[in-house]
Symmetry: C2
Subunit: 132 residues, 2 copies
DNA sequence: CTATCTGCAAACGTTTTGCATCTGT
DNA sequence: ACAGATGCAAAACGTTTGCAGATAG
């Protein structure tokens, strides 16, 4: 509760539930995952509130929108620069904390001013390899 | 025409138009971009045909689906391993051909069998920096 | 007290589907 | 001839929006 004070957002019960759900969550949940989780506590919870809160948290830099899944957005409460390893079979996502120190020489940047980068590794997780 | 024989797909005029549009195309078009382009030649063209053809080409490994844009899928006829540099302002995408030789030590792979990786660089293109 | 948030329902943009008809091989 | 493609319209899906009523600060 205290630790969310600096968000300068109205801390409604629904928002606190979303914040609690996201805190330390490494499952990279979709809006629906969040909705379903919070719905159990607040049966009137709506998608509007989930998206509204995610938008606010994005703007405050407290959540990152991931483009890892082609079908829906996923959200990551860990906004430190990090990378992802994705199972091509079950779409499970694992965080990778490593600085690859990637650079691009002038002739590759096409005049862009670089701001950052993100690496996705693809593979098959242990569970999905069993039985194949 | 000849060069598409090995796709083992029915080469309908609509498909050939899509293939021609994609050939050497580095604009990473969305389904709508493709639809609009082919529509001029075939006024009865439908999205169903665009998506159907893209699905077939994906399965044949002749086109790659990109998750670069959170709002819609984009397609890339260049299926060689390469990376992308994306303008955060105008969403323009530039190809990066460079092998970064990224590796993950055992303790980071969580038991995954690695298959590949893809790097996205973010930045602002020259055009979008002008006037800011 | 009031700026902001909630929750519903309707709208939106993209992608998928069912199906009758057509066509490449 | 017929497996497979087209094209239309409808539906599905994730996400966004408008708005009336509620509430945190």
């Amino acid at each position: 509760m205290e630790k969310y004070r600096d968000l300068h957002l109205k801390l409604t019960p629904q928002r606190l539930a979303i914040l609690r759900y996201l805190e330390g969550n490494t499952s990279h949940p979709s809006a629906e995952d969040i909705y379903k989780a919070v719905l159990q506590q607040y049966p009137t919870m709506s998608f509007a509130t989930v998206y509204n809160t995610l938008e606010a948290l994005k703007n405050k830099g407290r959540v990152q929108e991931l483009k890892i899944d082609p079908n829906k957005k996923r959200y990551d409460p860990d906004t430190r620069q990090h990378h992802h390893l994705i199972c091509v079979t079950c779409r499970n996502i694992v965080d990778i904390y490593k600085d690859f120190e990637l650079t691009l020489s002038e002739d590759l940047t096409s005049g862009f001013e670089l701001l950052g980068n993100s690496v996705e590794f693809y593979g098959t997780c242990q569970k999905c390899r069993v039985g194949n």
